[in-house]
Symmetry: C2
Subunit: 218 residues, 2 copies
């Protein structure tokens, strides 16, 4: 598959690129093409140094990267994501968009601040063309642990979406990451639950002297 | 300590009675004293058959059971809990009340339906005398697994409350149950997050063919 990662120069983007590059073509997308190319080269070198096979990681602008791909990973902050997607709307057609986006703010503690639609996932769906299939997942995977490709991630990933075929693709992509267990979280309207877990996990980590918390349902 | 369990004849009540009876005096409370006595006798026999020490498990009415105890465990359904507590208000003074209560309803799936206060824990605090210290915990512990006393529960228990000393007591009670890890979830106002996890976990279990799900933050 062809996978574009918006926000691909950040650590969560790095983790997905490194974990999926063995089987898929990866585009690292950024507003600044130089940063995207430099990150793509760096990830390629990381894999090469480890003697790992790589289908190809290329850096490009957002506009170039997301056209004609199967999957777009939205690993960008909530702030600015809607205006970014409105600008990129002509480049979207029928891709699967995986939203990792969590609307939250920090007062003393982190707080979930969903838009009026109920979740970032629903708001994102509303600004994209109807053919695009939005799936929400990976909100609670530690970027640091994901980027450490030797590490097996003993986490669960709850996947929400309204298009069963798109969800199945995300479930399969999840299974390709060692030890991640995909779980069906229901329709896209259920995304608020997994989005709201993120500030909860961050607060829990801070309060209890833990870090990079993920979640496992047992 | 003296611990009263409201709803003590149900399976989650049974689990707490069996797990805590070695170190604490347990009152099994019910509207119907006969049911309470019969459950208390049954739990005592279970422990005796396993050769386990037991401080004493007694059955009694709600009114008798909750007076002069250190801790009251509220393991009753949300429906009816507020009127129950209003009736029992004269029996409360300065106990620690552990709320396991989750307001939820089932349409196609289970849905969290918090009261206007934001969570059952806050609503419960508002109907009890000011001296009572409400702590919320154990919403996501499987009743079935808790009642199986040989089983080590590899779960996390998030504890929320405004009184640090009361929270500490609940943290210590949690540590007495094998492998449960207590985590500080912040003030009582944060209870909505752990309450809302319950319908989410039930839906997740149904959708994925799992059962008795708990949660672990790793």
């Amino acid at each position: 598959m062809k996978i574009a990662i918006l926000g691909g120069t950040g650590s969560i983007g790095e983790g997905f690129a490194l974990r999926w590059a063995e089987k898929h073509d990866i585009s690292i997308c950024s507003r600044e093409v130089d940063r995207a190319v430099s990150a793509a080269d760096e990830y390629t070198e990381t894999l090469s140094n480890k003697g790992m096979v790589c289908c190809g990681i290329t850096g490009c602008t957002n506009e170039v990267g997301i056209r004609d791909v199967d999957v777009v990973v939205l690993s960008v902050p909530y702030q600015g994501v809607i205006s970014l997607l409105k600008n990129l709307r002509p480049c979207f057609k029928d891709q699967i968009v995986i939203s990792l986006v969590v609307p939250m703010k920090k007062n003393t503690w982190f707080e979930y601040t969903p838009p009026k639609q109920g979740s970032a996932a629903l708001e994102i769906r509303d600004v994209l063309p109807k053919g695009v299939k939005v799936v929400s997942a990976y909100h609670n995977v530690s970027a640091k642990k994901l980027a450490n490709i030797e590490l097996a991630l003993d986490y669960d990933v709850v996947v929400c979406g309204d298009d069963e075929s798109a969800k199945k693709t995300v479930v399969e992509l999840t299974r390709e990451i060692k030890n991640l267990r995909p779980l069906d979280g229901g329709g896209l309207a259920s995304s608020y639950m997994i989005e709201s877990l993120t500030p909860f996990l961050i607060n829990l980590a801070i309060r209890n002297g833990l870090s990079d918390l993920g979640v496992k349902f047992i």
